[in-house]
Amino acid sequence: MLEAQELTKRYGDQVALDAVTLSVAPGEVFCLLGANGAGKTTTIHLFLGFLSPTSGRAMVNGLHVAAEPLKTKQFLAYIPEQVDLYPHLTGRENLEHFAALAGGKHSASELRSLLVEAGLPEESLERRVGGYSKGMRQKVGVAIALAKKAKVLLLDEPTSGLDPQASNEFSRTIRSLSEKGVAVLMATHDLFRAKECGTRLGIMRRGKLVTTVAAGEIEHADLETLYLDYMRS
């Protein structure tokens, strides 16, 4: 579903991403682990077409992102670290707007049930987003993804800054989505969360994808040791 082939991004002499090759199949949750500046976000931005690669390709559903930026986006849903919404509009209105941007048409009740499905409490649907907590905004982001019925979900540090309960709920949502056959690419530095909901884990360092392991094949403690080892070397 998602495929990176020798994906490279350079800014002058600085290498942000160095020949990364990876693929994420439907139903898979691929977690990118790494320190700040390791290239996780860059990878996601390249799949979104926000950046154009220096060399290599990013493919979505077999389509080349750089060549068909709009078509590939039809399959993608994106939840950034901080879901920024229009503060003067309500949760439902925000969802309605972004869903419309993707070309979808939804009735008010459909929108409402999407938001509830994403975990937003009923009574806050018609309140302005300016008063939402970070977790609530994150849920609107999830609802946007749900509304789009995307085949791929790109998550950039989705749980950072969330309280443990909200974070846990979020993991559950991701898992249920992947069970429905959605391919998920998630950048995070939360090893615990990655182990919780990922099916495969990739460790990145200085723009390189240094190793990939299956989540089921590794214990939590081993993952931490592995991660720190790679960070040190």
């Binding site: 979104l48 926000f50 950046l51 993608l76 972004f98």
Partner: protein, 476 residues
């Protein structure tokens, strides 16, 4: 989709308290200026209509006297104030408001209201045109500067982009949404304006039969102008790294376009085509007139020749034997000799002014402010061209008036008889001065260039806005 984007943009603005305040203030300003304009216009109109009436009465009741003396009493002509002057006063404050029509010379307009005003006038008049041309672009800028730059900073732009929307679509949708918000301000203002026009008696009196096309063209011109401002702001918002930079850049552009450039262009135009000084102009006319012949000076050589020609024409030896009064002939000849001099000099002045204005109009292709200013005043009938047209009409009238008087002397008096007088019967032969202002179709040619400039600007800036939106960076 366009509708969804526009709707969200509109809703967002409608809910933002700051925008509400700014828009309400602007609406207040607009209505205030309309009200002031209507008051100003009404008082001018009644005063000038009354003055024209009094003027005519004075002319008719000046009593029995020598016709030439009656001509010297003269007539004053007052510039009428067109209905749309309540929107745009144009150069009215600076061009004279009346002219004295007397024999022997073409006078200049006098009593520009600017001379009878406080020194504050130079800060500009609070007219509807000022609000529309100068203040409203500021509102558009405040509504638009964050359209892309702000969303980029806030992070909503990447969310929107990830949804797979075309940036071109987003740009057009935003333009529509902002235009909708502006409509909320402009539509009531336009209704009030139209109401003022109707209630002010402008429509019913039928003086402006072309009021409707004029108003529509005026509205179109302003809409194009606002469109240009909107698209330019969108383009800058797409290019600028941050919303703050976009705002600074746009404000700088506003200052440059509305305050600095017009003055610099005016300076350049004056330098390229200098205006003669009043003293030099008067001197030149006086000098050329002296060469043309003096109707009151019997020893003038040209007068002598005229005398001989007249004698030959009527086949008599002495002026006393003429069947007509030679005074009438000589007075008219004096006028006729002067006409080419006045025509040459006033036409040259007009041509010079037109050349200066052509400089401004050419600059209008880059500076929409100059185009809209020229169009707005032109359509309101308050630009210099309208003034010039009126001036020419008064001169034609003056010549008619003087000819009627001189003919009376020629056919009714006796040569050498200074005691001939006439009265009301003669004065009534002089028609009432009825001025027919330029119509829209007369002005077609002079409007073409600025209107074309605005239309070209509209489509160019729209293209630039779409292009910039497409090329913009999504990430902050």
């Amino acid at each position: 989709m366009l509708q969804a984007i526009a709707g969200k943009e509109f809703l967002q603005m409608a809910r933002d308290g700051r925008f509400r305040v700014v828009t309400l203030l602007m609406l207040a300003l607009l209505l205030l200026s309309l009200f002031a304009g209507a008051r100003h216009h009404r008082s001018l109109r009644t005063e000038r209509e009354r003055a024209a009436q009094v003027q005519r009465d004075q002319w008719l009741t000046q009593g029995e006297k020598g016709p030439h003396a009656a001509a010297h009493f003269g007539v004053y002509a007052f510039k009428p104030s067109g209905s749309l002057a309540l929107v745009d006063r144009g150069v009215n404050a600076y061009a004279g408001s009346m002219i004295w029509l007397e024999p022997h010379k073409q006078n200049s307009f006098r009593d520009a209201p600017a001379q009878d005003s406080t020194s504050l006038l130079r800060f500009g008049e609070l007219t509807t045109a000022f609000v529309l041309q100068t203040a409203l672009p500021l509102l558009i800028i405040t509504l638009t500067f964050g359209a892309f730059a702000g969303e980029r900073e806030r992070g909503t732009l990447r969310l929107a982009a990830a949804q797979g929307v075309r940036m071109e679509t987003l740009a057009l949708g935003k333009a529509l949404g902002i235009a909708g918000a502006l409509g909320l301000l402009l539509v009531p203002a336009a209704i009030c304006g139209a109401a003022t026009l109707v209630l002010g008696g402008a429509v019913t009196r039928g003086s402006g039969s072309d009021l409707v096309p004029r108003t529509l063209l005026l509205a179109l011109s302003y809409l194009l102008y606002f469109g240009i401002t909107l698209f330019l702001s969108l383009a800058v918002s797409a290019w600028a790294r941050t919303a703050r930079l976009a705002l600074l850049f746009l404000l700088g552009g506003w200052v440059a376009a509305t305050l600095i450039a017009p003055r610099l262009v005016a300076d350049a135009a004056k330098r390229l085509y200098p205006t003669p000084s009043s003293v030099a102009f008067a001197e030149k006319v006086k000098f050329e007139l002296a060469g043309a012949g003096d109707a009151h000076n019997e020893s003038d050589q040209r007068m002598e020749r005229l005398k001989q020609e007249t004698l030959k024409q009527y086949g008599v030896q002495d002026l006393k034997d003429l069947p007509v009064a030679f005074e009438g002939i000589s007075l008219q000849a004096g006028e006729d000799w002067g006409y080419p001099v006045f025509d040459r000099n006033y036409n040259a002045l007009d041509a010079q002014f037109s050349r200066q204005e052509a400089v401004c109009e050419t600059a209008g292709y880059v500076l929409p402010f100059l185009s809209i200013r020229s169009l707005s005043a032109g359509l309101s009938g308050t630009d210099r061209r309208a003034h010039e047209h009126f001036a020419r009409a008064t001169e034609v009238y003056r010549r008619t008036l003087i000819r009627i008087i001189n003919d009376d002397v020629k056919y009714h008096a006796k040569t050498g008889d200074t005691g001939y007088t006439n009265g009301r019967a003669l004065y009534e032969k002089v028609p009432v001065f009825a001025y027919k202002p330029l119509t829209v179709s007369d002005l077609r040619d002079s409007f073409r260039m600025p209107l074309l400039a605005l239309a070209a600007g509209f489509f160019t800036t729209a293209a630039v806005a779409v292009f910039s939106a497409r090329k913009q960076r999504i990430l902050p």
